[in-house]
């Protein structure tokens, strides 16, 4: 059975979403205050890095 190849784009997206989730948890616990000045670049960076990884890696 062929083994699935590691998908870099998914890893990049997972890391970005994990960072976002961690910040939301910390915000919910009042450890830090999540502001748009942080959130907006983080979203852009996550989506951008994911698209870049998708564009630079083959899907098959």
């Amino acid at each position: 059975m062929p083994r699935a190849r590691l998908d870099i784009a998914s890893i990049v997206a997972a890391v970005g979403v994990a960072v976002l989730g961690l910040l939301v948890v910390l915000d919910g616990q009042d450890v830090l205050s999540l502001h748009f000045a942080v959130l907006a670049p983080l979203i852009c960076a996550t989506v951008g890095a994911t698209l870049l990884a998708m564009g630079l890696t083959r899907r098959d």
Binding site: D27, G28, L34, M54, G55
Partner: protein, 419 residues
């Protein structure tokens, strides 16, 4: 894809004297290893010998990155060859643009991804699509870097609609290219496969919208911490999917879930407290509660008919999504500390809008005037402090009357000491 490219790169015509032959009496063509080939009948090669095939029509001149005149990636060298100009001119212009807002760096990065390298052939739909993804990714990364280094929340505001437009257009493009993971569509299958792909894409978009709404509701109405843990769980699933081979199908739903959770958390939208329009009209200090809250809707506290005692009166207004309005008579001073995650803070005609809006002004009361010490927080919407409630909800005129010069005259914090 590389194999396909090599196939296309084979020369159409062979130089005189190097032909493998094929004419009558000549040996059959051979592979580089010396084995005879039988793929083409001799007749097929006749025209090349007796009647040379017409030369292919010259295609349009293509811009390519130079391989023999490059300092970084050959972009300026390629431009120089294309226009027949010394590439130093382009290099100077590029450096100048880098220092004039960073556009040079962005354009150079885009050119690296968009302009093919000299000697390569990257014209297939897959290459175009993948380069499109990569370019979009670079643009978003540059926007993110700009937002980080600008240290200004308002700087980023205009980029939101641009970013969404970019992503929407990219999604449409991606769906319309009819790419398949195992190769492109061919022949009569193309329309059917494109239709299947559009249907699948539509289902993914609808599912992602459902995830987005669900994420926003979980974060706003349930618990921010729980929503954050859910986002972490989704990230783990995407990570596992990366190893199992289905990670890419989870990326869009994961982002669709995580981003609204982040937005609700950053805006401080709290849907606890119910929804609807609520109006409070206290007429005395005793009736003025220290705190009012609405989850989604309009919250209005009108103290214009209240007989407030001199001194400070703390007042907390909380609205998750909507509008918080405080109406005060002219003899009441308002000390304001207001926050709007996304929206507007307007006090007596003085307006501040955008994201992460913070307004803080604590003037002392004039004489023995009562002072309301307001602490207002709206996740997404508006904080409004005014003297004139009648005009505030005149639906024919909207909020025009609050912006100073109107029939009521300029508004001011008249109950406070003049500074």
């Amino acid at each position: 894809m590389a194999d396909d490219d090599q196939t296309r790169d084979l020369p159409l015509e062979e130089p005189e004297g190097e032909s493998g032959g094929g004419g009558p009496g000549e040996p059959a063509p051979q592979t580089p290893e010396g084995e005879p080939t039988h793929e083409l009948p001799p007749a097929a090669e006749e025209p090349t010998r007796e009647q040379p095939a017409p030369a292919a029509a010259p295609g349009p001149r293509r811009l390519k990155r130079s391989r023999d005149d490059r300092l970084i990636a050959g972009v300026c060298g390629g431009l120089g060859k294309y226009f027949g100009i010394d590439p130093v001119i382009f290099r100077v212009a590029a450096v100048a643009l880098v220092f004039l807002g960073g556009a040079g760096a962005l354009l150079y990065l885009a050119a690296i991804l968009l302009v093919p390298d000299e000697g390569s052939d990257q014209e297939s739909g897959r290459s175009l699509s993948q380069r499109g993804l990569a370019i979009t990714g670079v643009v978003l990364l540059v926007v993110a870097a700009g937002a980080i280094f600008s240290h200004g929340p308002f700087h980023f505001w205009p980029a939101w609609p641009l970013g969404f437009l970019l992503l929407f257009g990219l999604a449409i493009w991606w769906l319309a290219t009819a790419e398949r993971p195992s190769g492109g569509t061919t022949g009569g299958d193309a329309p059917r496969k494109t239709g299947q792909r559009l249907l699948l894409g539509l289902l993914v978009l609808v599912g992602s919208a459902a995830f987005a709404i669900g994420g926003a509701i979980v974060a706003g109405a349930w618990s921010t911490t729980a929503a954050g843990i859910a986002v972490l769980s989704v990230a783990v699933m995407v990570g596992l999917g990366a190893f199992a081979g289905f990670g890419r199908w989870l990326i869009l739903p994961a982002l669709a879930f995580a981003i609204p959770v982040g937005v609700v958390s950053a805006a401080g939208i709290d849907l606890h407290g119910g929804a609807g329009n609520r109006e409070y009209n206290p007429v005395s200090t005793q009736q003025l509660r220290p705190s009012y809250r609405v989850g989604a809707g309009r919250l209005m506290v009108d103290v214009s008919n209240a007989n407030l005692t001199p001194g400070d009166h703390p007042l907390k207004l909380r609205v998750g999504l909507g509008e918080a309005v405080l109406v005060v008579p002219s003899n009441v001073c308002v000390a304001t500390k207001a926050h709007a995650g996304v929206g507007n803070v307007e006090r007596f005609g003085e307006s501040h809008g955008g994201v992460d809006v913070d307004f803080d002004d604590q003037p002392p009361a004039a004489g023995t005037n009562p002072r309301i010490v307001l602490d207002a927080d709206v996740g997404m919407g508006q904080v409004l402090i005014t003297h004139y409630r009648e005009d505030a909800f005149d639906h024919h005129r909207g909020f025009h009357g609050f912006h100073g010069e109107d029939q009521f005259g300029p508004q001011a914090n008249t109950g406070c000491e003049v500074r």
